[in-house]
């Protein structure tokens, strides 16, 4: 098996085992309802994680995604509720604004040579600030289009459903995977994360790729904002605080290296699902106090990373020695 597939396999196995153990304890967790909820409830996180995966593979990080989700949600709500713009047009506007914002951050990262951590931190402040300047209150969106979207779902046996936004997330993962693993852009992103100097000497358009990566991440964060707005039928400036850390966690649990250059889009999907599983488990358990919830989440995070580490290091790069010289 390809070495870089190992962490992905590891994560998947961990997920299956963890799910199995949870079901053993709470049989109710094995239902289409819970599985459907995994998709719907984590849709915005999953979509964000796809963008984050690209950023991290390229060797960067994007701390602004949570704030961008909040901002787009508010923007959409303001446009729809205050200016009676049709939601679809509002979505388009929001996505364009979010993408432009990402492009701007990408430019700053590339041209000013400031680390992405700091640029996107400033971006986070800016987006969150802009959202609270637009409105401090939560704005409800009452539009028949929203109600229409919430009727779009596939019913599963056992009361579960695959909602529109859950399906959208799956679609984004598929497109993301194709983009990352099958296109030139994808290979440029990996190249950038491997070694930016080499990449530029090898003819990778570094500026364009960097800018596109952050544009993509912000676009997807914007899309996640739209999804969040569909999910809650509202726009709230404080929505999705800290989602950046959840997304980074999911991406890393999914086997993508924070140092860049290695990773799989599908891994992030498993990472998101694992986080959803942990939360659902805690909810089903229902006996943890606020603080124990945090401690348990921290411990599980630790456990996953260490498990992955163990599996990953047992498959550490073995140098292949090629001996071409056959002196008879």
């Amino acid at each position: 098996m390809n070495r870089s597939l190992r962490p992905l396999a590891a994560t998947t196995i961990i997920f299956i085992i963890a799910y199995g153990l949870s079901v053993a304890q709470f049989p109710n967790m094995f239902s289409t309802r819970v599985l459907g909820n995994f998709l719907t409830d984590n849709a915005f996180l999953g979509i964000t994680a796809v963008g984050m995966t690209f950023v991290i593979i390229s060797g960067g990080i994007d701390l602004s995604v949570g704030a961008v989700i909040g901002f787009t949600g508010v923007l959409v709500a303001v446009l729809v509720s205050w200016f009676s713009v049709h939601p679809l047009i509002a979505f388009a506007i929001a996505l364009v604004v979010a993408s432009a914002f990402g492009a701007l951050m990408g430019c700053a990262i590339h041209f000013l040579q400031v680390p992405s951590f700091i640029v996107t931190l400033a971006g986070m402040f800016l987006a969150r600030g802009a959202a609270s300047v637009l409105t401090q209150d939560s704005i409800p969106v009452n539009h028949e289009f929203y109600s229409f979207i919430s009727t779009l779902y596939i019913k599963l046996d056992g009361g579960g459903r695959i909602s529109f936004i859950g399906g959208l997330m799956l679609l984004v993962f598929v497109i993301g995977a194709i983009l990352a693993h099958r296109t030139k852009f994808g290979s440029y992103v990996y190249a950038l994360g491997g070694n930016a100097t080499s990449a530029s000497l090898m003819g990778v358009p570094v500026a364009r790729t960097t800018i596109l990566v952050y544009t993509l991440s912000s676009f997807l964060a914007g899309l996640a904002g739209v999804v969040f707005s569909l999910y809650t039928s509202a726009g709230y400036p404080l929505a999705a605080v800290g989602v950046e850390l959840d997304a980074i966690g999911a991406v890393v649990i999914g086997g993508t290296l924070l140092t860049g250059g290695y990773g799989f889009i599908f891994g992030s999907f498993v990472g998101v699902m694992l986080q959803g599983l942990v939360q659902t488990y805690i909810i089903f358990d229902g006996s943890l106090s606020s603080w124990w919830t945090k401690i348990v989440i921290g411990m599980l995070l630790f456990l996953f990373i260490v498990l992955q580490r163990v599996i990953f290091s047992s498959s550490a790069p073995k140098l292949k020695h090629v001996r071409k010289l056959k002196h008879e």
């Binding site: 990449a199 530029s200 090629v322």
Partner: protein, 507 residues
């Protein structure tokens, strides 16, 4: 007309790095269908000139002409688009991607907008076969292969990209003879197709084997461009150094001389999965040469000796008492030193100054609290810079800005500063100019005469023969033979490496 028309030409190029003049008024011209050797000492400015020709740097003065038209390349990509393929001195590939992708990145064939992976892999296999790399899996990560393989991949990539010009900056530094021969076949083929080829190396034999003309730089200035037919080796060296050096210096085999008392002995030392247990005694005043093919496990043996990968079997005795070497710092505490082979990854600490790079191992030995002050550091750095003729504009300059050869000398200086009893050198002369090469060989001899025990790994057999008191041969991660006396000569070593009946040699 054909005589005056140049494929690529540089006129009056100047390049300054701050106060330092890297290139001053350089003219350089390439004819189609020629192999043009670019020679000079370490730090003469060869790599800098290449970077200017290919758009990686921009000249402070002068112009570049491609087929008699002035061009100004924005970046290497732009140069590539004009048919100039380059292999820069440090292998610049992506170890995290597959071999195939490294070969095709930036110009992958697509189908319906998707990269056509199958086709890339197929073409990569064909391409690699031409360089004798049939058993390489194009889907495997490049980083999984040795430096030599990576170097060949880099060359193959550049060759594919070069429609008009191919530039190779020290491509042969980490290749062995057969690979060099393969490379020369490819170059001859390209030359016949009318490409202009720039070839930088410190191996004069290779220059005479393949080049048509030679341009020589010294201290950033142009010394001259001459057809090679009219030059002898001595002429070339004189132009490079501005003085004569003798080649015979110390080449008479060292042979069986009086060695000092036993210093270190390895008894059944090995590491599972990495190296078969080996036994070796090293005396004071003795140089053990280590020969073997690429990947035969020489570097691994050195790493085990130095505690980077601690041994998991056997024992190590120092002056007769068993010692435990679990880490590099243990080894250093026992007076060991180790110049690693991969200078960029394991040697230099790029952003630190030359001074700090020299004193760091000594400081590591002294520990956290016995800090050398700046004056001590400058004194030590100055002493070794002079001793090894390290050319740096200032001891406070970051080492990453030094030329490759000078970086190598700094690493050597680092270890000499710790005053080691036992020094391991892994490919110490790789990428070193003739002058410095002789200097390093002399230094090895001197250290041995001063009573130091050395283990020197080198792929250059002539060199190994020149300073070794004994030679051990590695094959398949196992120490297979030990050569002494008259067996220390290149042909016997080659036989031993090539798996002739071991007994015959070992006798």
């Amino acid at each position: 007309m054909a005589d005056t028309s140049y494929t690529l030409q540089a006129r009056g190029i100047c390049k300054y790095f701050g106060e330092h003049t890297a290139l001053q008024d350089i003219d350089f011209a390439l004819r189609p269908g020629e192999v043009h050797a670019l020679l000079g000492e370490n730090g003469a400015g060869k790599s800098t000139l290449i970077k200017i020709l290919t758009g990686a740097y921009h000249p402070d003065a002068g112009e570049v002409l491609l087929e008699d038209r002035p061009v100004s390349f924005r970046d290497p990509l732009h140069a590539q688009a004009h048919g100039i393929g380059t292999v820069y001195q440090e292998v610049n590939l992506l170890p995290n991607r597959s071999v195939a992708e490294n070969l095709f990145l930036g110009r992958q064939p697509t189908r319906f907008g998707m990269v056509d992976k199958r086709r890339i892999e197929r073409e990569a296999t064909e391409l690699l076969a031409r360089y004798g790399l049939d058993d390489i899996d194009p889907r495997a990560e490049l980083g999984a292969y040795s430096v030599a393989v990576q170097q060949i991949v880099a060359i193959a990539r550049a060759v594919e990209l070069s429609g008009k010009v191919l530039i190779l900056d020290e491509p042969t530094a980490s290749l062995d003879r057969n690979e060099v021969e393969k490379l020369f076949e490819v170059i001859a083929d390209l030359k016949a197709r009318g490409l202009a080829i720039v070839f930088i190396t410190h191996f004069l034999d290779q220059v005479f084997a393949i080049a048509d003309r030679v341009t020589i730089l010294r201290n950033g200035r142009l010394i001259g461009t001459e057809p090679l037919t009219e030059m002898s080796r001595t002429d070339v060296v004189r132009m490079m150094l501005g003085k004569d050096i003798s080649f015979s210096g110390g080449t008479s085999a060292v042979g069986e001389r009086e060695v000092g008392e036993l210093l270190v002995s390895f008894r059944g030392t090995g590491r599972t999965g990495s190296l078969q247990p080996f036994s070796l005694d090293i005396h004071k005043g003795e140089v053990i040469g280590v020969a073997g093919l690429l990947g035969s496990g020489r570097t691994e043996m050195a790493r085990i000796m130095f505690g980077i990968d601690p041994a998991d079997s056997g024992e190590i005795r120092l002056n007769g008492t068993p010692v435990s070497i679990q880490s590099a710092s243990d080894a250093i505490a026992h007076g060991f030193g180790f110049c690693p082979e991969d200078r960029k990854a394991d040697g230099i600490i790029g952003d630190l100054s030359v001074r700090e790079n020299i004193v760091i191992a000594l400081q590591g030995k002294l520990g956290w609290f016995r800090a050398l002050n700046r004056d001590d550091q400058l004194e030590i750095a100055g002493r070794f810079a002079e001793m090894l003729d390290i050319r740096a504009a200032s001891p406070d300059m970051p080492i990453k800005l030094l030329s490759g050869g000078n970086q190598q000398k700094v690493i050597l200086a680092r270890w000499l500063a710790t005053d080691p009893g036992f020094l391991i050198l892994d490919e110490p002369t790789r990428g070193i100019d003739v002058g410095a090469h002789a200097e390093i060989v002399r230094t090895i001899n001197r250290l041995r005469d001063d009573g130091m025990a050395l283990v020197v790994i080198s792929s250059e057999l002539d060199e190994v023969v020149a300073y070794s008191s004994r030679i051990v041969v590695m094959r398949d991660r196992e120490l297979v033979a030990e050569l002494r006396g008259e067996n220390i000569n290149p042909s016997v070593i080659v036989q031993a490496i090539a798996n002739q009946s071991d007994e015959a040699i070992a006798s």
